[in-house]
Each structure stands twice: as structure tokens, then as C-alpha cells.
Assembly symmetry: C2
């Protein structure tokens, strides 16, 4: 459970909500396989709690949380629990019985399950969103926390819009939640509006005035709309909070949530100033950052603190001034501490299947024999083309494989001619789910447009491409190109996605990823991967509707 919770009052629990609040970023829609891989990465990272999703949102969401509860929320078979860190698996639920039922149904499979329920406590939300009196809100909180407690010992409650709630009312509601069995009280700055001073005072007020607060852990959940999420979170911790809700790379709606890596590294680097600790293995930070970025398709800017490509750039190709013998004159963190300096040349052209398998296991990938076979073939192809194959290349290949694993349509062949001297033209050969081959040619404004037109002629699923990005995985012009695309279905066949917290709906966005030394081939793969995701979602929703109609 918590690594150091029982013995140390200065231990800060890291609650990762990348898979719940982070996944609400526009376009961050993840497949359940991707969610599972990220959850495994978070367990390796050593977070205390994984908020794995919002099970009541759809049968699909419930299933995703359940799989994580089973596979990541339990110690490996045959292992003695104490030797391995097993995170708490948490599911979000509105303050209603059906939501709590769904959450429990999903998380109960974990060794350490948690139900997280919430209800707004500000006047504006109670009046206009909930249409409830304050008394009704108190009753509902008492009732629903008790209901959740009847299933599960570990209950978290969040008073939504706490920052704009009447403090006295807030203390009352929180006290009632503790009485009813809540063990964690999470205070959100839902709209990213507070200053560090204000947020610190809010937490200090709660710690001082809430009845029986000594029986619960206070948690903070901040948003970065004004660039203050990390500072607000640290101010909350200073004022007595002992859980921080964060996401990897700070992903999330709008400007996102508090960055896991910033809070962890501030506590780590300034441990004397803060006098607090957490259980995260900082050397796993770079890897999980890259995984979340690739799976969600949300890039990390080079000047992002801790995980940006330049964060430690003064390490590379630098000659220190002869007089500067003292490392700490200009350096406050070592890149190795966050896992940046990994071996570069890892495997050569002549490395065998076993060496690859062992290396991938060291990197944290758990692949079946069949998957290893495919990966090995692709590795050999790449090693023929590229001077050196690095960890980053391998990650790109494996992620490309994970993305292509739920295929409906599969790229079998591609041929493109383009340039300034003619009309960009593409020919594709695509295999459908029944194994039948389709060949189509098309012209476009450029090679990617031509390829996408040719694919559309086969697949016929109307969409708008909302984002298209390519970048090179490593230095050098012979590098693998990674392509991420995001697209939206246009004809309303897929229901919009509603946020449990604010009731807003977004059109569903589907991301696709492809990697190849030929960026046009990678673009075709990424587009097909996104189309396949969209088609699978369509199928699921038409199934769900059929069930509802019965």
C-alpha cells in the first residue's frame, strides 16, 4: 500500500490521475491496452494511488478500470506481497448509488481498492448545477460516503469547487464525510484560479477547523490555467495536505493538471526546505513521460521543467569554463536522477532474439512470444537501415506495435510519388478484417493528403483530421519518424464524451501513432490506427445502443 505511510507523518502520497483527469484532455482517448501499459508504468514509478478511470461513464470505461485493478492492483502470482509495491487502484464516482456500484464493481479486484466520490459545495454549483439546498448536499454526502464505505474501507471524498465554497459550510461537509467513513478528503482548485497564498490558506483552514480531521488525509488537486498548479500544490502540502493529485507531463483538460514530475522533483531537490518525502522512483520519470506522451499524442515542449528535451541540455556538448570546478554552481539536479541518461547504443545488427527479449524486459515491456517475434523482425529491419538502434527506437517500435494491435484495416503496401514537378499520387493496398485486399490510388495536395485520400477510398469513414505531427525519434537523418494524428468522426455516429465533473461534452477524438523510417509510411499507419480506433468505438456504441433498446 503506501510505501511509508504508517510510520512517517511527513510522507506525501502521490495520487496519479493521468488515466482519469488526464485522459479528459481533448484527443487523449486511450485504448484499454494503452491504459494498462501506462498503469504498469505508474506502478513501476512507485505512485501510491492510480486513479484508473470513471467506471460509470461507459461499460468500456468500467472494463478498463477492472483490468487495471486485476493486473496492476495485485502482486505478481507467487510473489510475497511485501516485496513488491502494489498501488491502490481508485475509481471515480459521482455521489450516486449507481456510480458507486460501478466504481466498486471495477476496483474490487485490486488488493487495495479505493472509491473516490465527489459533490459540489459552492453556492453557485449547488444552486445552478445540482439544484440542491446546502442541507440536501450534506445529507447526500453522508449517505453516499456511507454507502461507498459499506463496500470498501478506503474512501476519498472531494467537495467540488471548494475554493469558492463558504469555509464554515466546507468544514461542516468535510467533518460529516469523515464521520461517514471518508479516509481522504481531496480539495480541488477546479478552474485553476487560486494563488498559492489563497490555496495554502484554504488548506490551513480545513486542517485547523474540520472536526475529526486527524482521522483523514487531506489531498490537493490543482489545475494549471495560470501556470500556478505546482506552486499551489506545494502550498497545500506545506499547509498540511499529505496527498497530491497529479498527472504525468501535467496533461488534462485546458492547461492541464499539476505535473507529477514537478511536484516530485521539487520535494526531492528541496527536501531540506520542505522536509517531506514521497515514494516515487525518480529514475522512472523520463520513461513514463515518454510513454504518456506517445500514447496520448500530446507532445512535451523542449522547455518543459524536468521532462522537456532541453531541461538538462546544458549536459550535452558543453565545455565548462576552466574555473568552474564546482558542479553545483549551476546545477540543481542530475539528469540520471530522472532517468534521462540511458545507454544509447543498445543492440547491434547481430544481436539475437534472446538479447532483444531480455532487453525489452529490462525496459519494462511484458510481451508474448508472438509479440517478441514481430518485434524482432522489425528490429532486424531497422538495424539494417540505421547505424545504431537505441532504447528510444525500441520504444517507438513497440508502441507502434501496441497501436496496431486492434486492427480492423491493415496497411499491406504503399507507393507514393511527390515533389514540385508533378501531382502527388499515392497507391495503397489494404487488408480488411476478412482478409480481403483492396487497392486504391488517389492524388492530393501533398503525399500525406494523397495517401489519406486513397485510404478513405477503401475505408470510407468520414472524419476531420484535427492534428498531424511528425518528429524524429533520435538524432540523425536516418532516424525513425514518429507520426501522431488525431481525428474526429463527423456524422454524429459516436456519442460525445461528457465530463463527470463539469457536465461539458466534447466530440470524441481518436489518436493514432505510427513509426517508420519512411514518414509517409508512418503517416499511413498512424491514420489507419486512428481510423481503426474510431471504427471499434462505433461498433461498441452501436452494441451499447442495442442493449439499451432492449
Amino acid at each position: 500500500m503506501y510505501k511509508d505511510m504508517t510510520i512517517n507523518p511527513d510522507y506525501v502520497r502521490i495520487f496519479d490521475t493521468s488515466l482519469r483527469d488526464g485522459e479528459q484532455s481533448p484527443g487523449a482517448t486511450l485504448t484499454s491496452l494503452e491504459k494498462l501499459e501506462i498503469a504498469r508504468g505508474l506502478a513501476r514509478l512507485g505512485v501510491d494511488v492510480i486513479e484508473a478511470g470513471f467506471p460509470a461513464a461507459s461499460p468500456d470505461d468500467l472494463e478498463g478500470v477492472r483490468r487495471i485493478a486485476i493486473e496492476v492492483g495485485n502482486p505478481p502470482a507467487g510473489d510475497v506481497e511485501t516485496s513488491v509495491h502494489v498501488p491502490i487502484i481508485c475509481g471515480l464516482a459521482r455521489a450516486s448509488k449507481s456510480d458507486i456500484d460501478a466504481a466498486w464493481d471495477a476496483v474490487k479486484h485490486a488488493a487495495h481498492p479505493r472509491i473516490h466520490t465527489f459533490l459540489a459545495t459552492s453556492l453557485i454549483h449547488m444552486r445552478y448545477k445540482l439544484r440542491m439546498d446546502p442541507e440536501e448536499v450534506v445529507d447526500r454526502v453522508r449517505e453516499m460516503v456511507s454507502y461507498a464505505k459499506s463496500f470498501c474501507d478506503d474512501i476519498e471524498f472531494s467537495p467540488e469547487d471548494a475554493g469558492r465554497s463558504d469555509p464554515e459550510f466546507l468544514y461542516l461537509v468535510l467533518g460529516e464525510a469523515i464521520q461517514a467513513g471518508a479516509t481522504t478528503l481531496n480539495i480541488p482548485d477546479t478552474v485553476g484560479y487560486t494563488t498559492p497564498e489563497e490555496f495554502g490558506e484554504l488548506i490551513a483552514g480545513i486542517v485547523t477547523n474540520t472536526p475529526s480531521i486527524e482521522n483523514a488525509i487531506v489531498s490537493v488537486h490543482c489545475h494549471d490555467d495560470l501556470g500556478l498548479a505546482t506552486a499551489n500544490t506545494l502550498a497545500g502540502i506545506r499547509a498540511g495536505a499529505r496527498q497530491a493529485e497529479v498527472t504525468v507531463n501535467g496533461i488534462g483538460e485546458r492547461a492541464g493538471n499539476t505535473s507529477l514530475e514537478e511536484v516530485v522533483m521539487a520535494l526531492h531537490t528541496r527536501r531540506v526546505a520542505y522536509g517531506l518525502s514521497c515514494g516515487v522512483d525518480t529514475t522512472q520519470i523520463a520513461r513514463i513521460s515518454r510513454m504518456v506522451s506517445n500514447y496520448t499524442g500530446i507532445p512535451v515542449q523542449p522547455n518543459k521543467a524536468i521532462v522537456g528535451a532541453n531541461a538538462f541540455a546544458h549536459e550535452a556538448g558543453i565545455h565548462q569554463d576552466g574555473m568552474l570546478k564546482h558542479h553545483d554552481t549551476y546545477e540543481i539536479m542530475r539528469p540520471e536522477t530522472v532517468g534521462v541518461n540511458r545507454s544509447n547504443l543498445v543492440l547491434g545488427k547481430h544481436s539475437g532474439r534472446h538479447a532483444l527479449k531480455v532487453h525489452l524486459e529490462e525496459m519494462g515491456y511484458e510481451l508474448t512470444n508472438e509479440e517478441i517475434d514481430i518485434a524482432f523482425k522489425r528490429f532486424k529491419d531497422l538495424a539494417d537501415k540505421k547505424k545504431s538502434v537505441t532504447d528510444a527506437d525500441l520504444e517507438a517500435l513497440i508502441e507502434d506495435q501496441v497501436y496496431q494491435s486492434q486492427e480492423v484495416f491493415k496497411l499491406d503496401g504503399l507507393q507514393v510519388a511527390c515533389g514540385t514537378m508533378g501531382l502527388p499520387t499515392a497507391t495503397v493496398r489494404i487488408q480488411d478484417a476478412e482478409g480481403q485486399m483492396h487497392i486504391q490510388a488517389a492524388v492530393g495536395t501533398g503525399p500525406v493528403h494523397a495517401v489519406y485520400q486513397a485510404i478513405d477510398a477503401v475505408v470510407n469513414a468520414s472524419n476531420v483530421l484535427v492534428e498531424f505531427n511528425v518528429h524524429a525519434v533520435t538524432e540523425g537523418i536516418d532516424a525513425l519518424g514518429e507520426v501522431t494524428v488525431r481525428l474526429q468522426a463527423v456524422n454524429g455516429s459516436i456519442p460525445e464524451r461528457t465530463s463527470p465533473q463539469n457536465g461539458f461534452s466534447h466530440a470524441r477524438t481518436f489518436g493514432g501513432y505510427g513509426a517508420d523510417t519512411d514518414i509517409i509510411v508512418a503517416s499511413a499507419k498512424a491514420y489507419l490506427a486512428a481510423l481503426n480506433k474510431m471504427l471499434l468505438a462505433k461498433k461498441r456504441y452501436s452494441r451499447a445502443e442495442t442493449v439499451l433498446v432492449k
Copy 2:
């Protein structure tokens, strides 16, 4: 000068150092034309001070600052000064006569010039970097501030590594600087190490204890290594600082400087809490953000506060819950406030040259007749290919033009074949400075590799490609693709670049940008643009060496 400085004690001066500290980001090397365009954008934005560069670094840097001083640091000819905001133009100088001479030589052409000089005051820096006694440091500061003052009324002094300096010594040095004529005292958190509480206390101590502090403005300069730059800057302002040193998009070495947009929007959105104002026109923020990102090649992540693509994403395609009539339930800023909602469909296929010219002027571009001709031809080509031409498309076209304007080698033709069924092959036709045509063909691991091999066969300038990125300018698969590349010369022909502050040297990196509906064509343009920059730099340095040898 300062928009509201003389009358309002609660006015916070915005000092933009994108062109000095920001340009020190690895790979952010800008041409003087790009610097000038950004400086114009900063003046439109309404910043109070533009730190335009470090004139002593090279004749080229001096010339860049001088051009900005002349063209951006003066009211338009014939205009009455009071009607137009003219920013202060500042040049950085180490505490030496030759540096101050160079700085003055560059900034003296501005209506409001400033010299900014600095010297370290921490024990570790004084002992190991400067090899000076504290007494010698005090003497040098007094002497050099006086020397700068003999040229210029407006003098800024920074005690480097102030955070680790002995407070009493710091007060003494700062007091001496004021006595010698410094009008602004800038306190840097050089390594991004402090917490908001510590930084606020540092500033409060300075405001309370420095002799004659009422005769100077205190300034803050923070770095984002722990994700706390914005919070530290605001804490400093709360404690009495009235100038904030910032960069657009928070660019800068490592994790970068404080973000201009975050500080400005925190002061704006929370004006009741802070009770302070600044002179920035917030509606210009989105445009300058995009310009700086494109010219430096440093992308902005979608979840970046204020300027990220998702920062206001809940505006697009959202159906609000019927109960939510109150905008401010979930919204703290309007996208229009930062200039996000611009007209989308701006010009059609049949728009004339005059309409384009007027529109580009409205967008802030000042182009010659010849440049308009080229832009118009490209606009017509694009309008033929693409359904609608937006402001973003026009910006991409103009920036592509600016990038290609200092051409040595020019792409005349390109032909590519690629896909999974053969060997990616490219043919290029390139015109050199003498007008001679060169044709080369090459194979590669992908189409970009093939194109770059073919270009290398013509241009023959060894380099390592350190970054390669493509993204679509707008939604839709017929969009323009923007390519940014960054490369480094490999054979030591170009001297490394040394930071004035910390003495570290980086290998010079050259960025290139290209935009086309065909991303392979855009890739070829971007690569040639970067190569051309590299070749021009080589020429400049071999010239500089010749002068030195004499």
C-alpha cells in the same frame, strides 16, 4: 516609455528577454531579420523593455541590437511620440568597459536606451568564477555602473546568484549600485532553485534593507527548473518588485525563463487579489506566441497555460449542460482576451493583391512591394489547393518567405518516390549563389533521408540533424505542413557559443523552417534554410578571423 510608470506605484514593468536569455535556448539561434520581426511584435504587445541581445558577444549580435534600437526603439517618422508606445531597448553587458561600450554602441540609437550590467555576489561565484574578494566586487560594481551612467540615464544592475549571496553583502552591493546611478536592480534566481516563500523573503529583505532603495525599481528574473518560475515571480512582485523579466512561451536555457503570458494573465485575471497592473495588450499574446515558436523552432505543448492549443479547448465544439447558464462557473479567462479567436476564413480564391496587402498589414507584417508580389503568388497557389486560407496559413507562408530570404542555395525542383514497395529515392534541382543549377539523385531509408542525401551531394556541408518536426497548420488533411529542423555543424568550423552569464559553451545550432502542402517539399526547404544559415555563419566567422589575424 513606461506606459503608466510615473503616475502609478502599482504598475509592473514587463521586461521581455526572449531575444537575449530566450535566444540562449539550445537551437533557438535567430537571424537578425527574425529578431527584428519579433521585436516589432513585442512593441505591438506593449512590453515596457525589450532586452534585444548581448552586443559584446559578436559584431553580429551588436548589429542585431543596433537595428532593433533604430527601427523598433523610435517612434515612426512623422508620428508624435505620445501617440505610440515606444519600448525601452536594453543591451546586456558584463561588468567591463568593453562590454559596456559595445552595449551603448548598440542601444544609443533608441529613443529610450538602457544598459544592463551584472556581476556575481555569491561567495561561490566570487571565489571560483570571478576570483575576486568581496571588496573588489563592490569596487567593480561602483566603477562599472558609474561608467555606464556616463553614457545613459537608465541603468540596470543584476547581482548574479543573488539567491545564494550573503544578504548583508547583497544590500551593501545594491546600495552602492544605486549610489553609482543604477535605476533598476534585478534579482535573478539563476538556477531555478528557490521556492516562492524563499524568493518572496529575499525580495522583501532587499526592499527593507537596501539603502536608498526608494530611488530604484526592484526587478525579478526567475527560471523554471522546478516549475515554479511564475509563482516565484509573483511572490517577488508581491514583496515589492515592480519589474518582471520574462520570455514569450517561457523559452530559455534548460526549462526556460518565466513565461510572459502567465505572469501577465495572472495579474490580469486576479487583479483584485494582486492589485497591480501592467501595460501589455493581452489580445496580442496568441500572435507573438506563435511567431516566437515558429522563428525559434521551439514548439508550445497543447497543455501549456494561456498559449497552449488546448488552453481554451473547452470553447470548441462544446455543448454546455442546460443547467449551466453562468459562464464563470467553469471559466476564468475568455480566449478573445489573449487573441485566440481570430477570423478563420479570411481570403478566398478570388481575393486580389490589394486585399492581401491590407490584410497582412492588419496582421502586423510590413512587407516591401516585391515581398507582397511573392506572397500573393504563393497565396494564389495555396488558394487553388486548399478550401479556405486562414490567418494561420498566411503566417506560415510569410514566415516561410522570411526564412528563405537569405538564400545561398535555393530549391528549384524536387521529385520523390517512396513507400513500402521500393527504395525511397529523391531527385533535387538546386540553384547556387551564382545561379548555376545542380541536379542530384539519392536513395535513403525514407523520403526525407533520400532528399537530404541528395541535397548533401550538392551542398556538401557536414552536419548532424538534431531535430525534425512536422505539423499541420490548420485542421483538415489538405492543410499546409510546417517543418522545422535543427542541425549542428560537425567539423568545428563554427566557434561554439558562450553564455555571458555562466561561461558555458554550446555547439551552435541552426534552425530551418519550411511550409508547403507537400511535407517532403517543406522538409527540403527547411533543411536548405538551416544549411544556408549555417553557411552564412561560417562565412561571417571566417571573415571575423581574418580581421583578428591582422
